[in-house]
């Protein structure tokens, strides 16, 4: 069973994402900001990360850069999932090493198609 870390400061979003991902047979781990997510990654590296951008303490971009620097951090498939929907944010995310990018709002079909593209499904 593949694991996916859901990083979002909204409990509702985490809940929706968890439901969708569990239906796709993922083991879901949650974190409410980048800092907590980084700690979870240090404990055990997940197969995938669904990552919000704007969060308190440590935002998604800072998390991504820090996580990629960890041992095994290169292998993880990172899918941004954010309300930032302009080209410059998307380009910045790709340049920083994100594998895919979801513009909120999302649904099950979008998550499924993006996860398929990065090879998590």
């Amino acid at each position: 069973m593949k694991s996916c870390l859901v990083v979002d400061d909204s409990r509702v979003i985490r809940m929706v994402a968890r439901k969708i991902l569990e239906e796709l047979s993922f083991e879901v781990i949650e974190a409410e900001d980048g800092k907590e997510a980084l700690d979870k990654c240090k404990e055990k590296m997940p197969d995938g990360v669904l990552l919000d951008w704007n969060m308190p303490n440590m935002d998604g971009m800072e998390f991504l850069l820090a996580m990629r620097a960890l041992p095994d951090g290169e292998e993880v498939k990172v899918v941004f999932c954010t309300t930032e929907n302009d080209l410059s944010h998307i380009q910045e995310a790709i340049a920083a090493g994100a594998n895919e990018y979801i513009m909120k709002p999302f649904d099950s079909e979008i998550i499924q198609s993006k996860f398929l593209q990065v090879g998590l499904l």
Partner: protein, 275 residues
């Protein structure tokens, strides 16, 4: 809804588009035809059926057909057929067409244009490998409304996230308001044309590759056979037909046979080309 109204609308749809509507699809008629009824100032499906029955109003019947045959799709739907097209079919066709350097592709029920545009983007990505080649993509659909939408190349945020890799989005789309528009260069690679699959495709010319995916499922056996036999007549010996995941030629027609080991790909029965 009344049985006689359902039967009347279902038989009209079958005649005009080939669409076969099972009794279990009454809900689909109701959800899709309420807006049509309202548009023509009618109270509900009963009045709508009445107009069809008594007046045979061409506008109303056209709108009903349009509403029932419009289906959403996604970019690079199922992915695999597109990989096969790029990695297997296209190289094979190019091998056999070194002289003419011309390849024609037909998307036989293109809906919002995602399928032909996905193919166009694949061709664009191949870049210099196709230098000197003329590759035409003809995209047809029964729905004028869908064709008009497809031609604009405008898609909602939801649509561009279904099946489209983000790197491709960034490369070929531009944000305009709350929509995303496909690059004019890619749009110009696809020619759109209204076409009803119940008609003979002979006027469209010949096609080396035909994508006819997820449309036959709506037809009965006889109509499926008629469509596939028509496609076969427009195809050279080394041509290829792609059907949707739930579709097959087996038990429908002898014109085509499955290509071994290439799921969803079919070739003419009398062809010995190996893909």
């Amino acid at each position: 809804m009344k049985v006689e109204d359902f039967d009347l609308l279902a038989s009209m749809l079958k005649d005009r588009s080939g669409l076969v509507l099972g009794k279990d699809k009454a809900y689909l008629l109701e959800t899709r035809l309420m807006p049509v009824a309202r548009k023509h100032g009618l109270k509900g499906l009963e009045e709508l059926a009445d107009v069809v029955r008594r007046k045979r109003d061409e506008n109303v019947m056209g709108d009903i057909t349009e509403a029932m045959t419009t289906n959403e799709t996604l970019f690079f739907r199922d992915q695999k057929p597109f990989d096969l097209f790029r990695d297997v079919l296209l190289p094979k066709l190019m091998e056999g067409r070194q002289d003419s350097k011309r390849i024609r592709i037909w998307c036989a029920a293109c809906s919002g244009g995602q399928e032909p545009y996905s193919l166009a983007m694949i061709l664009k990505e191949l870049g210099s490998k196709l230098m000197g080649w003329r590759i035409e993509i003809l995209a047809t659909d029964i729905s004028v409304e869908m064709l008009d939408k497809a031609k604009t190349g405008l898609y909602t945020q939801f649509e561009v996230q279904r099946g489209l890799p983000i790197t491709i989005l960034v490369k070929y789309f531009r944000q305009t308001g709350d929509k995303w528009q496909l690059d004019a260069g890619i749009r110009s690679m696809v020619q759109f044309r209204e076409f009803n699959l119940l008609e003979s495709p002979s006027a469209l010319g010949t096609f080396d590759v035909v994508f006819c995916r997820n449309v036959l499922i709506y037809f009965d056996q006889e109509t499926k056979k008629k469509v596939l036999d028509g496609v076969a007549r427009q195809m050279p010996k080394d041509g290829a037909l792609l059907l949707g995941g739930a579709e097959t030629v087996l038990g429908v027609t002898d014109s085509f046979k499955p290509v071994q080991g290439r799921r969803g790909v079919y070739q003419l029965s009398n062809s010995d080309v190996e893909f």
